[in-house]
Structure formats: structure tokens, C-alpha cells
């Protein structure tokens, strides 16, 4: 029984409660760092790591943290793992850190992570919290990649830096700019909801 429920916790983050397409959480990195597929993937992974680690620690300490100071404690825990991620990325590759630098520290204020800590990890066991974080992290990564790939293809004519179109392709600069993030997000939300609606009616 517990095995099926933890699988459910994982699956729900991917689709039914996808953090970006359904809950519309964490829009700052979604719109800001999704201008290339590579940046989107790296940002998604970094966020997923912070989400998993903070969910684990919050869940482990849930009986120890009084509810009056819980938000402060969660933020402290989240900020710690963001700092750790920042150092880890610097140690992995100078190039990667160069392209993400400014946005890593902004993971602290990603409401997705705080909402999972508050709404789930503080009330559930370690195992369930881990599955929930894995699912939400994967869902976030998937959504970021959807946006990043579309924006890079249309805005730059490339995917992962590889040219996809002949030289005379006129790239849509607007897709790289912040406005393109909103357009792409709106288009994906439209598609996502259309699919869900069709499923519901059939």
C-alpha cells in the first residue's frame, strides 16, 4: 500500500499537479532562465536538487520545528542548500556557473520550494517527502525544458547550440527576450489545458 502511495506522490508532480503548468509556481526562473535549452536544464536540475534536499531536511525535522517559526526555519534550510548548490556548480564548471550565476541565488525565493516544504514535507514522512520532491523536481525540470527548447529553437534557430535551420532563417529575437517567455508559457499552458480538458470530457 505504501509503495503505491509513494509512486502516486511521484507521478502527481509530473502531470496532474505539475508545478509550472498546473500550480503556476516559481515563475521567476521559469521565465528568466528558459531562453536556451541548456540553461533551462541546468536550472531545473539545480532547483530539483534544492527541492529534494530541503524537503528531506524539513521532513526529518518536522517534529522539532515549532509552527510559529517554521517559515523562518524553512527559508534558512532552503538558503543553505542554495548556497551549497552555488559552490557545487562553481566546482563543476566555470562555464556553467558563468551562464547561471545570477539565477542560482534566486532559487531561495522560488515559491515552489517553500510551498512543498510548507504544504507537504512538514506533514509527511521522509520517504513520501522524498518522492514528492523527486516528482515535483522532475515536473519542474520537464516544464523548464519545454519552454527552453521552444524559445531556443525559435529565438536562436538552435537546440543545445546546434543549428537547426538553414542560414537564411531569421530568428525571432523576441523569443529570447522576457516577452518571449510569457508567450511560450501561455502557449504551453494552452496546450496543457486543452489536453487535460479533452481527457476530462472523453
Amino acid at each position: 500500500m505504501s509503495a503505491t502511495t509513494s509512486t502516486d506522490e511521484f507521478i502527481k508532480g509530473l502531470w496532474r499537479e505539475n508545478p509550472v503548468f498546473v500550480q503556476v509556481l516559481g515563475m521567476c526562473p521559469v521565465l528568466a532562465v528558459s531562453n536556451t535549452a541548456e540553461n533551462a536544464l541546468a536550472m531545473g536540475l539545480a532547483t530539483a536538487f534544492v527541492l529534494i534536499m530541503s524537503n528531506l531536511l524539513v521532513s526529518a525535522l518536522r517534529s522539532f520545528i515549532p509552527k510559529q517559526v517554521r517559515i523562518a526555519c524553512y527559508i534558512l534550510i532552503i538558503a543553505t542548500f542554495v548556497t551549497i548548490t552555488d559552490y557545487a556548480i562553481q566546482a563543476i564548471s566555470v562555464e556553467l556557473h558563468k551562464s547561471l550565476g545570477a539565477f542560482i541565488s534566486l532559487i531561495v525565493v522560488n515559491c515552489l520550494i517553500l510551498s512543498r516544504a510548507e504544504a507537504f514535507a512538514s506533514k509527511n514522512t521522509l520517504g513520501k517527502s522524498l518522492m514528492d520532491a523527486l516528482g515535483m523536481g522532475a515536473g519542474f525540470l520537464f516544464a523548464l525544458f519545454c519552454l527552453g527548447a521552444v524559445r531556443e529553437i525559435l529565438g536562436n534557430g538552435t537546440l543545445f547550440g546546434l543549428a537547426l535551420f538553414p542560414d537564411n532563417f531569421e530568428s525571432w529575437i523576441v523569443m529570447i527576450l522576457p516577452a518571449g517567455g510569457f508567450f511560450t508559457l501561455a502557449a504551453w499552458l494552452l496546450i496543457f489545458n486543452a489536453i487535460n480538458e479533452r481527457r476530462g470530457t472523453s
Partner: protein, 232 residues
Amino acid sequence: MTESPAISTNASTSSTKMLVAMVGIGILCALLIVVTFQGTLPRIERLRAEALAQAVFKVLPGTSQTRTFFIDNSGQFTEMVAEETAVTKVYAGYDQQGQLTGVAVEASGQGYADILRILYGYQPQSQSIVGFHVLESKETPGLGDKIEKDANFLANFEQLDVSLAEDLKQLQNQVVPVKQGEKQHPWEVDGITGATISSRAIGDILGASTMEWVPLIYQQRGNFELNRDSQP
């Protein structure tokens, strides 16, 4: 009203608990950060040094070996033998025959998002900047980071004029940024549309740094020549 005494006793007992929780988590978090910082520091420093060493080869075309110099107490460029920190260093490059290919200088200044650190190659023979590389930038991905990728912009630094005036103490023309497509003189840095602030910042950083360093390096260019242990 009957509940109020209960609440006040609750509050007094739980305030100790709150304090313990906050302090405890604080200490745990501090410990985690310190461990990570200490653990990654050697590797981060090594990667930074490697990136810098590779950048020297990039900004000085034809370089096959490099040496590090610093300004000693008498104001002379001296080769650095032992590792020293907290001194301003420049990096001289040499080709296969041991001829000086140029001197790479690090410079930094305010960009759009944060401090930009760049490295540029100065060639005393042609009195020009022959290469440019961004060491550290937090410019907006997709916009400001064009200063590292835009071919038209990078072409500025293949032969950027930094000739000295006759007194050898200052530049004839300071390096200045201009709008994209308005470059008319060999000492102007053509900007990037869509990365205006970042590309202007590069022009300004170069302008300030070359004013300071180019006269010094040119006057002492003899110090950089390989006079001993020449290449076979």
C-alpha cells in the same frame, strides 16, 4: 477569555523551543555551508586558475608558453618565481622561438548585473590589443552575455589601436565604446544592439585599464624579453 492563561504559559514554554529550533537549525546550516565551502574551494581555485591560464593563450595569438610577472617595490615588472597572492599580475606570452607575443592584463569593472572580469592581450610591437576574453560575468543570459559570443563585437579586439602619444606616458586616443555600426577609428569599440550596457561597460573597462597599464608595459617592454634559458 478563559483560554488566555493557557496561551501565555504555552507561549513561554514554546519560546525556548523556538529559540532552540532556530539556533539549532542555524548551526546545522552554518556547518553544512562551511563544509561545502572548504570542500569545493581547492577545486574552484584550480578551475579558476586553469581558466585564466587558458585565457592567456586565447588573448595572445601564437603563444606557446607563458610567464607571470608582477610589479615589484621599485615599480619594475619582475618575473614571479614563487606563488604570491594579492599582487597585481600580468601574463607574458611567447611563441615557439621565445619571442614575446604580447602581455595579457586582467581588468574589471561594473557591468549590467555585477562586476565584469576580463582579460585582454596587449602587443607592444604593434601597439594594439590583439585579444579579449571574459573571465567572469553575470550578465543576462541571451542578452548581455553576447559580449562573449557576438562575432562582430569580438572582431573589435583583433586589432584595437592603443598607440602611445609621443611622451610615452599616455595613450594617443583613449579606447571608447561607440554604438553598433558607428566605429570609424581603430581605437573605438563597436557596441552590440541588445547588449548596449554590457558592451559599453567592456569599452569603458578597457579604456580605463589601458590608460593605466599600456604606458607601463610599453616603457618596460624589455623586462618581458626572454634573455635567459632561451628555447632550444
